[in-house]
Symmetry: C2
Subunit: 214 residues, 2 copies
């Protein structure tokens, strides 16, 4: 059964079970999908409100983009679990003959690469989403600023978790060039996410402080 | 329909819809529920592995506690949405007569208090869960250290989101004592969560660095 077709209750039980997948990598992509939905909601609650007519064009674009990023992040929840399972499958391959050993090693390398590339793609989508969260906090309906802030928090949490999931797979990858690229791309994307989510934090704090003075 | 009984896909669509609830407060509790499941998984993958026999007693206790905290956090996903809706309902009450005005004001105060108390309770559960994430990262199966780390990230994100959801409701609360207590409790709980999740971060980094040297 597909993870996204489970009930929330069922998914959480599967996540908590003793099968290693889904684990932190799927949780990272799910955190992104939750953030994408929160951004979409902020956009919807801004569009159609006359008071925000001057930002409708930007917000409408943000809404479409959030929906599209969320859609891919939901797929990545599934793909991360599959990547992990492919490592498990490769490990169980026979290694009686030299040929079998070589085939197993190829399968292990492929699975390790996949297990690092999936969370790297999650990071790419989270980075794009972090920029949208900034737009939502900055230009969206101020009544929803904590929702945009919550989205940014989920994006940063997902980013940190996805970056660890890239790094944890690197020692298994023999191709030094691929290993270095994956590692440095992950670090760069995470830095961008941390920066953008810090901007959103500051916007939410500013809005909270203004509100408490009124 | 109960939110937790929806499919993950359906819940994310509801979160992204133009109804303001569920919003950031429910997302905060859900982030906690995800973290509780990740902690449970780490415990399960530690129990039954002979190599970790000396920590089984502590980890078994942690697993039971994670399951219990997760169960309440899942309820809080629902309750946060209900609290928000109670504000909306109160706002729509008639205010034609003095009596109606007074009844509406009482309903508004009750709804505002509820809307701050639910995310405060989420913070309490997240704070307890943060301590468990430290135990999981410290004593759990080292192969799962990024899962414990991902849990801590979700807890911090949920904590920040829940704390904003307490604060955003404070200006509507007329009882100054309740307002101050809610605000300072939220700030204190969040500080504890940030500290514990920072400890987990450091444990994951240490483990990652050791791994990359082997």
């Amino acid at each position: 059964m597909k993870l996204l077709e489970m009930t929330v209750e069922g998914f959480l039980a599967e996540l908590g079970s003793d099968s290693p997948a889904p684990g932190g990598g799927s949780a990272a992509a799910l955190a992104g999908a939750i953030a994408a939905s929160l951004c979409e909601m902020v956009c919807r609650l801004t569009l159609g409100r006359e008071a925000y007519r001057d930002v409708w064009a930007v917000i409408e674009e943000a809404q479409i983009r959030a929906a599209s990023l969320g859609s891919r992040l939901r797929e990545l929840v599934e793909e991360d679990a599959q990547a992990f399972n492919s490592v498990m499958t490769a490990r169980k391959l026979p290694r009686g003959t030299e040929e079998q050993k070589a085939a197993r090693e190829r399968a292990l390398q492929e699975a390790a690469l996949k297990s690092a590339r999936v969370p790297l793609e999650t990071l790419e989508y989270l980075a794009a989403l972090a920029d949208l969260a900034v737009v939502c906090a900055d230009l969206g309906n101020p009544a929803c600023v904590t929702d945009a802030g919550s989205a940014a928090q989920m994006i940063r949490a997902g980013g940190a978790a996805a970056a660890w999931n890239v790094r944890v797979n690197l020692p298994s990858i023999k191709d030094a060039k691929a290993r270095e690229e994956l590692g440095s791309n992950a670090a760069g994307l995470l830095a961008g996410i941390v920066k953008a989510s810090g901007q959103v934090d500051a916007m939410v704090e500013k809005s909270m402080n203004e509100r408490s003075r009124t």
